[in-house]
């Protein structure tokens, strides 16, 4: 069985909207996420699993969850 086409659509759309919202390539969005992670990690103990970035139409939300072990 192939993947339902809706998964492909959602994945494409998510990438498309991030690059539209930032007016940049998907690759630049990836780099931004990595840079933000590195920057925050200089000041706080974080792990990639507990770190999440969401780019909306007007804000960039940085979210970290859970106590670090």
């Amino acid at each position: 069985m192939s993947v339902p086409s809706v998964f492909v659509a959602k994945e494409r759309l998510k990438n498309l909207l991030i690059s539209d919202r930032m007016q940049c390539t998907p690759d630049a969005a990836d780099r931004l996420e990595k840079d933000l992670y590195l920057t925050v990690s200089k000041y706080m103990e974080i792990t990639p699993e507990h770190f999440d970035i969401k780019i909306s139409r007007s804000d960039i939300h940085i979210r970290y969850t859970g106590e670090n072990k």
Binding site: P4, S5, V6, F7, A9, K10, R12, L13, K14, L16, L17, D20, R21, S56, R57, S58
Partner: protein
């Protein structure tokens, strides 16, 4: 003072004009005094969808240029209580009107109506800027397709940037069968991706095509789309109408009745 709502989408062909006509007619049926304005200069269509194309004398550009009074350009739809159309101009282009002129026109007339609906052209150029200039809130129409949702996101960004705070989504032409088999994005998928409040969902319904052929509305009719449009109108009036659940599995009675109707 009337509320001014722009119906927009970015992408063309997703159902802005059909939505404007049906919401206008629905609100009028619920006792409101409604004006619908076609702001698509050069591509006049709202009159055709409403079946009023043979009654146009003057248009919005005539009003703004002062060639006629507003009352002369308004077409009263005699089938419904208190419903008026201000048609677009077929032979002018989008630069014939400025956003400032549009804003002034709306300020001048908003006290005379309960609702003013603006049918916005596709695109994000001056026609769009004209249409949103005087609006208090928006209805962003999309279909559950990648290209339409992408454009809706862009439009939502532009609306937010222009200071319009109340922007709600209308998902049009939802194919319930395709969502069920995983080949179309669901209502939840679309609202999650766009992060915006949902005003309503119109299922794909051939009655819309049939009604549009005849210049008739579907709102208020006993069809899926007709009921959904009426619910949207009631939500606009502030009534607490729950979203229709198109995904619920067919109940026992439904199965039983399809069994009887098979032959």
């Amino acid at each position: 003072m009337g509320e001014v709502i722009v119906i927009t989408s970015g992408k063309g062909g997703v159902g802005k004009t059909t939505t404007t006509a049906n919401i206008g007619i629905g609100l009028s049926g619920l006792g409101k005094k409604v004006l619908v304005i076609d702001t698509d200069l050069g591509l006049r269509n709202l009159d055709v969808v409403m079946g009023l194309e043979n009654r146009i004398v003057y248009n919005i550009v005539d009003v703004i240029e002062g060639s006629c009074r507003l009352k002369q350009a308004l077409i009263k739809d005699k089938r419904f209580p208190e419903l008026y159309l201000l048609p677009s101009a077929q032979t002018k282009d989008k630069t014939s009107i400025s956003p400032e002129q549009m804003k002034k026109l709306i300020e001048d007339i908003r006290d005379d109506f309960d609702y003013i609906l603006l049918d916005c052209p596709a695109g994000i150029e001056q026609g769009f800027q004209n249409a949103i200039a005087g609006a208090d809130r928006s209805i962003v129409v999309t279909t559950p397709e990648v290209s339409a949702i992408r454009d809706a996101d862009r439009i939502l960004g532009l609306l937010e940037a222009s200071g319009i705070r109340k922007n709600e989504l209308l998902i049009n032409r939802l194919r319930i069968d395709m969502v069920k088999r995983g080949d179309m994005m669901s209502v939840d998928d679309v609202t999650e991706i766009l992060a915006v409040d949902l005003l309503g969902v119109i299922p794909d319904d051939e009655q819309v095509v049939i009604a549009t052929n005849q210049g008739e509305p579907v709102v208020g009719e006993d069809s899926l789309a007709g009921k959904s449009y009426m619910n949207i109108c009631r939500r606009l009036l502030g009534e607490d109408i729950p979203m229709e659940d198109y995904m619920k599995p067919e109940g026992f009675l439904g199965k039983l009745s399809s069994l009887f109707h098979r032959n």
